[in-house]
Symmetry: C2
């Protein structure tokens, strides 16, 4: 069950119900799925060096086309040898299309079938982004996996708005494929808000096009988990089994576990990195807010069963001191720990699928889990 184009392929290695254990092959190496992609917005995963990322076990990173287009610009990055060389990450890179950030960060946005016009959140300068430009920019960046420009809607959104956006995303998907001038991998994006029939239609249309992978966008935008999983349940069955499936911007450990159980292969989220900088650590026993007074003289590492650099070397008391002292090392050590937690979670999920025990794993997690977003069990 292999989908092959010159530079990209996806193999399914094992299944456990709808859940899949697979492997992406990209021009910059292999990625075991289900995979979590640390977010490297501005050509750096905030707080860690590429060497530390490798040590943590990251196999792929995501970078943001919107941010890199605004600063320093894809032309500059291309001139310097592409994004891998620029940021010194020789593993695979998935780039988003810039759509989500234009809708969430940019100012004075105007949208038409042609594309989007907006003002930079950095200096107010005027920019355009069309589906064609999004592909060109990502090619210039030397992305391993490009994403189509899509129209992102707020939550909640009316059905007419959701339909218009989903239709435009389909229109743009075709134009993105036409704009591609090499056989670099390009993923289409399913939209449709929280409306099952729109999701269905979008899934069928996008799936019918010759993309190397399919993404589900517009989830984890404020809806509750049940709503998100219901949309996922509606959508996933219509995605071709032989192509990788990417749930964009999701999510908490439990979100990821639930989505992987439904057949999702790829994830990205700022949660581990952003929360690290805010002093929130993921552990096997729930989340931990390192600034709390109860950790003042706690000699234990954040997670006693964790093998990351942070847990092998530092106490909660020290990490609390660093956080309260606003030291750079606070963000660094917390980020190392949280990313390690996420990548270990993915490894646990992959092993559970191989052993056909993902349901047991989910049940074990839920036995301990009590609404906290951070818990996992082995």
């Amino acid at each position: 069950m292999v989908m092959q184009c010159s530079y990209f392929s996806f193999e399914l290695l094992a299944e456990d119900g709808p859940a899949r254990r697979g492997r992406l092959i990209t021009p910059h190496g292999a990625v075991n799925t289900p995979a979590f992609m640390p977010v490297g917005t501005q050509a750096t995963v905030k707080g860690v060096t590429p060497q530390q990322l490798r040590e943590i076990g990251a196999e792929v990173v995501l970078s943001n086309t919107y941010h890199l287009h605004i600063r320093p610009g894809e032309r500059l990055i291309s001139k310097l040898g592409g994004l891998h060389r620029f940021m010194s990450w020789d593993g695979p890179i998935l780039t988003d299309s810039g759509g989500f950030q234009v809708f969430s960060l940019a100012k004075l946005m105007e949208i038409s079938d042609k594309g989007i016009s907006f003002a930079s959140h950095i200096d107010g300068s005027r920019h355009d982004l069309t589906p064609e430009m999004a592909v060109t920019i990502q090619q210039e960046l030397d992305s391993d996996i490009m994403m189509c420009l899509d129209e992102c809607i707020p939550y909640p959104a009316g059905k007419d708005h959701a339909k218009e956006a989903a239709d435009r995303t389909i229109l743009w998907a075709r134009r993105s494929l036409d704009a591609r001038t090499d056989d670099r991998a390009l993923f289409g994006i399913v939209q449709g808000g929280m409306y099952p029939e729109l999701r269905l239609r979008s899934a069928k249309e996008i799936s019918s096009m010759p993309f190397e992978g399919l993404a589900i966008g517009g989830l984890s935008v404020g809806e509750d988990r049940e709503t998100m999983l219901a949309v996922l349940d509606t959508t996933v069955g219509y995605l071709p089994v032989e192509k990788p499936r990417y749930l964009m911007g999701v999510g908490s450990p439990v979100d990821i576990l639930e989505a992987a159980a439904r057949g999702i292969d790829m994830f990205d989220c700022v949660l581990p990195t952003r929360n690290a900088r805010n002093g929130m650590l993921f552990t096997q026993h729930g989340t931990l807010s390192i600034k709390q007074a109860r950790y003042k003289d706690d000699p234990r590492p954040p997670d006693e069963d964790c093998s990351c650099y942070t847990c092998r070397n530092f106490s909660r008391a020290y990490l609390r001191h660093l956080f309260l002292s606003r030291e750079i090392l606070s963000s660094v050590l917390n980020t190392i720990h949280n990313l390690h937690f996420y990548l270990e979670l993915m490894s646990d999920i992959r092993h559970a699928i191989e052993n056909k025990s993902l349901d047991d794993f989910r049940i074990r997690v839920k036995e301990i889990y009590d609404g906290d977003i951070g818990l996992r069990s082995r």
Copy 2:
């Protein structure tokens, strides 16, 4: 020529005129001198992990008693196994006495022969610091090399003020020795402002006491280099040859080279780490302000002959992008480079002393050096 106490010794291995190549032996390992001590104010060298510090080649770090006393407190650090374990640095640590910071950072300071009373710069809480307390705090921190509390004066300072402070520092030095309850190394500090006769007297008095090392304080406080070197010339000859000599808070690469040539063995300075965070990089061809537009698309590393992690992996264009984007990684990579530059400079100085070629090394540096604080040559 070995000065020995149970836990600390200093060996002189080679000399080149007044310059000395030596080795400190501490309870946490050896330090080759002349040595540069990266500054780890709040129990962390800002921006780098202990692992990175080791990779850069640091053999000893300095930490600040004032900061640690205020937050998190020496009691807490002691309870957690001491400063080495707290910050996960198993190499030697020199702690200052807190004096310099009390005079430069604290508010509402009152000084008497008894000690200093001041308000914390963090929360305004009232604290006392006496020579006895400074020793007790440093013992609790489990310092490898403790410093006496000294009275630091502003620059310029009148002779009466300088004399009073130097006399008080001598008084406090005796009391510091009496306060020590174990045979941990303790260094005395020579003061006396820019007045040769005060420096002379201070050097003789402090040298006559049974310290394991001697420090020169109150330099690099705003005076020009000639003035500083004149004071050094006056002072160094009166320090016992068999004990290590530490020039506190100094300095630029050229300051260090000039002082090492005059027989100084130990240095510390925030210049490499603080300037790194401000985007100023030291190179063999002078300093480099990474934010400048001329580095916008410069594919070269900061220093083409440098072997540090930053120079092996990243371009000036990328480092400029990180700096302008205010990314954490900017501080991290710049700090790694600048500390590596300083530690390589010390290694070059040590080799030059071994080869009796320190004068040639100084001349080569001065041929290229043109007033810029950052230059060195090999």
